[in-house]
Amino acid sequence: MPGPLIQIDQLSKRFDKGALAALDSVTAHVNAGEVTGLVGPDGAGKTTLLRLIAGLLVPSTGKITVNGLDPVTDSGAVHRIVSYMPQRFGLYEDLSVQENLTLYADLRSVLGSDREEAFERLLGFTGLAPFTNRLAGALSGGMKQKLGLACALIKKPDLLLLDEPSVGVDPISRRELWRMVYELVDQGIGVVWSTAYLDEAEQCARVLLLNEGALLYAGSPQDLTDRVAGRTYQIRHIDTDRREVLSEATKLATVIDGVIQGSRVRLVMAEGADPPNLAPLNAGLAAEISQIPPRFEDAFMDLIGGGFRATSPFANREDSAEHTMNQVVEARALTRRFGDFTAADNISFEVGRGEIFGLIGPNGAGKSTTFKMLCGLLQPSEGSARVVGLDLQNAPSKARGRIGYMAQKFSLYGDLSVQQNLDFFAGVYGLTGKSRKDAISQMIETFGFADRLDVNAMGLPLGYKQRLALACAVMHEPDVLFLDEPTSGVDPRTRREFWTHINAMVANGVTIMVTTHFLDEAEYCDRMALIYRSKMIASGSPDELKDRARASGMMDPTLEDAFIALVEQSDREREAG
């Protein structure tokens, strides 16, 4: 048997002297003919490692060889056998699909009949043949990734490096990308697939698990998952508040990790610990606990020593807002057109106080458009959006004063300190005098900012950035908090901390509107609307949506399975007329 395709030995990379290492003495290997998952949250060092393998960065210390070659000194030879698809593949958005392919064929000197053969093979492989004249910029996220993949495969490589190919890709396209990658593996190509989604690790033959520049684990995902075998449980039929059950459960020393899955609570127990007694958790009489198969994420949480355990300070926060209205968010026949294109078509729903409502759907399906109309960033063409009874069109400023908004990338002012960010948002939301002082000092206390007040927001660790963004969004005690893809790419522990805060706020009567394409996050919702092709094709609780997938013959569907089943069903209905 030949040696591994990539051999990495004591590899470190520092970008600045004295700065934290982006990669810290990593030793690993990658085999030919299989998918190696490079798994870890944002900032773990995935892209750095891929760029080092591709010879685009020079290691600080340590060594890499690709097929026995050094990517830096033998860059020409390495580039001939390696294809690298960066996060945003260098597609020329103003060129058509065909022109992009031709350009990359020229760059890779694939000429004559080879070229024709390659085009035919790749267009068939990616299913892009009907779209050769479409501009790359007009393709959906999934199709862009497929075109990127096609461009990377113009000349068949020995090693294919894919940097987060599934970001911005809906679940259906994601499955197609995986199918394509398995085909490549069957042809003997070694594939490295980097991802922040832990569920993708289970599809890889081997994984390299990175966290903060260090290699936590290398080996088969199954072996890692097995370390929590027999320790994963699910509490079902909870007839009290599942969020409180979770909060109680994670206070137990024997519980390593807990998350909400629709109406159920999933727990990972410490080694040798018995499943918890349900009575003290106040889960209700009908509740039962049973063992379920472990997931890769359970094992990851076990590996890093468990989830976020503290209770959220919001749990004890006194709630001064008066709760008169019950329908906090109302969408009435919301419609938005851009020229001939209808981005959101006749969307109606109501969200009650203290509810978590999710808008889910593929990118470009209309969920962002709907979300923006609800928080006043976009005017509806028809219909109306109301928040606590205030119309966002007639009383925009007043209505927006009752809203909190947290954007995907924690839109804080990076050059301002923590204190200055808090001051600014307090002022913009019209807090003055004592109430302003109180609100700010309460946030400082709640989130433990006291010793970081003078630090620039940009220099905060990710978890603190998220806390600060949340603090700025809720300081004025909004009735509704809008969250735009709040935890995509965030490591699981920070994600759990975030949802602990959100759950505590919900318990205090705050309504949450969340948009996400990350279906794990959707599990936290009480109800959700699935938006597809500008229309709301389904709504209900996660379990109701799963039930609809079960009705179409699936045994134990995940939310992703349900999502795909519903979308396919909608496609069939549309084609039928």
Binding site: C375, G376, L377, L378, Q379, P396, S397, K398, R400, G401, I403, Y405, A407, Q408, K409, S411, L412, Y413, G414, D415, L416, Q420, D423, F424, F425, A426, G427, V428, Y429, G430, T432, N456, F482
Partner: protein, 368 residues
Amino acid sequence: MFQRIWSLIIKELLASARDPQTRWVVLFSPPFLLVIYAFAITQEISSVTLGVYTQDRGVEARELISRFEGSPTFEEILYLRRDADIAAAIDSRSVDLVLRIGPDFSRQLERGEPANVQLILDGRASNAAQILAGYSGRIVQDFNEDQATALGVPTLTKVVTRVWYNPNLDPLWSAVPALFAVLTAIVGFMVSALSIARERELGTFEQLLVSPLRPTEILIGKAVPALMIALASATAMLILGWLVLDVPLRGSLLLLYASMIIYLAAIIGIGLFISSLAATQQQAIIGLFIYMMPAVLLSGYATPVANMPDWLQALNESNPIMHFIVISKAVYMKDAPAELFFHHTWPMAVIAVVTLTAGAWLFRRRVS
């Protein structure tokens, strides 16, 4: 409402002060540029090499040449031996101009007849050529007068030149006021055009739009800090011009500042207008340069506005830089009357009102 705008103003000022790039680009570089440019564009001609080709060895010819030699302008004199050397010397730039004296020069003067000398100038450097022609003309005129006196012929008309406002024709005196106007505009443009585009790029703009701030409030909250920053930078330039460059300021500071606020309102209005059209900082910068290049070129900064065709002059009425250069020169070099200020501030006020309104309108449209 004031509370919200106030918070935004404080935030803008803090963000500019804490961002090292903005701090350098906006606050420190314009005064620095003022000094550098002021020295670079100095129009004084020094270290000139004069070529002399004379076919006359007479007393008068030598007298004329020695007057050229004695002038501080001509640092070096190169004597040419042949007629053919003239072209070569000018071509190779080994001389800047050539004085050519014909064989009959002294003889004709002695006979009391008029005599010619020829000056050959290098038209490739037309500005320098004109100035050198002026210098040389004055030397020849002085020579003439002395010759006439020696011959007992009275000089009929004598030109006595007095230059007002800039008695020594110091080029810095005319350059600094125009530069001051242009650099102040650049600061105003930069701060305003980048501010919205930067927030849009970082995603913080949405955060502002979902807050209770109204579009007009955001516009005010963006315009006021830009005005304050540009005024601070302008003040630094005024002090530098006075202390380091020694350019006197004769007019009313009060009127200068009053008209500068209106000037900056127009500039910032244009900047915010461009910014609200742009989706990224890059687009904002490109938009800004597309506007700024012609605006500066037509402003009278480099070439006199009065020499431009009528339609261009009419178009120039909408150019705030043109108006403020007039005001700036007037304040620096003479104590100008208030009418002049009024005459040039009202068009700027109109520009400010139009662009700021258009900005707010576009803003609201882009929101929806």
